[in-house]
Symmetry: C2
Subunit: 150 residues, 2 copies
Amino acid sequence: MTSPSTPSPTRPTSAAGRGTRVRGTRQAEALGQVLADLPGFRSAQDIHAELRSRGERIGLTTVYRQLQVLSADGAVDTLRDESGETLYRRCATSAHHHHVTCRSCGRSVEVEGRAIEHWAARVAAEAGFTDVDHTVEIFGRCPDCAAEGH
Amino acid sequence: MTSPSTPSPTRPTSAAGRGTRVRGTRQAEALGQVLADLPGFRSAQDIHAELRSRGERIGLTTVYRQLQVLSADGAVDTLRDESGETLYRRCATSAHHHHVTCRSCGRSVEVEGRAIEHWAARVAAEAGFTDVDHTVEIFGRCPDCAAEGH
DNA sequence: GTCGCAAGTGAAAACGAATGTCATGTTCAC
DNA sequence: GTGAACATGACATTCGTTTTCACTTGCGAC
């Protein structure tokens, strides 16, 4: 939100020493920066628009591709909103967790529900299912959006 | 595709005084029949293909439209698979529940998790979110598909 | 510094699910 | 039986996402 301090973030000094596969390109760097700045889940097209509005010259294809790589790498979380669009967010932890997401501004809160994991594993096992995975997403209206009547 | 008990609920002779908009058309009848026969979640296109393979003359548009109406009516449940496609299934109960779904054959088991509802409501409230909704889906491999190596 | 090449990029085209359009067909009330 | 409202479906359109492929760029070798 209030991020007026944007001096020169696109400085590929040497901070790219993460587990990311991405090579040190200006686009990848800028994308990482935007992901770090945005507080909630955003669509690829949103992120692309944000990059463009910051003056970055980057193609939509690259945004999709990078997000795909980052997602496979576990560096960003993905979820699908009600309309089927895929939303992305860099999460603080790479451990398994879920989100409470605002359906109007995309802001999200990470929640950890050990109970849910157990429940999911149990009911799947009871049904005889193996190789089990689950998705749990909670959508709602965040306090700010509720206050503004969104 | 074992369809042992196939009652005839889709007989909107005069029982159409419900909230259902579906008029007694041949297509709606056939669609209801297919939904009753299919054991798991299937895509609209699957259902359309199944109808066609049964010799029904029905358009894809109609399938989508009917499924939409049935879904809004609570007569079928919907979920999105990993690829983003929407899947449909007629469920036994119209009460709120979740599913364990086989990711290769679409077969599903209904599970009721009161604990999940409470958990979702609680974590959302703790985050200050209102107007809360949630999705919980469990994907896995059903015993049959596991046995066949799918 | 410059050369070379693989990896990255991106505009445009392709793709696919889903929805809109509208002329035609069908059902139900009368 | 008749008519009008509603359902149908072939086709067009929308929209998010992926693929294609020619071009650019980072980076190690020289």
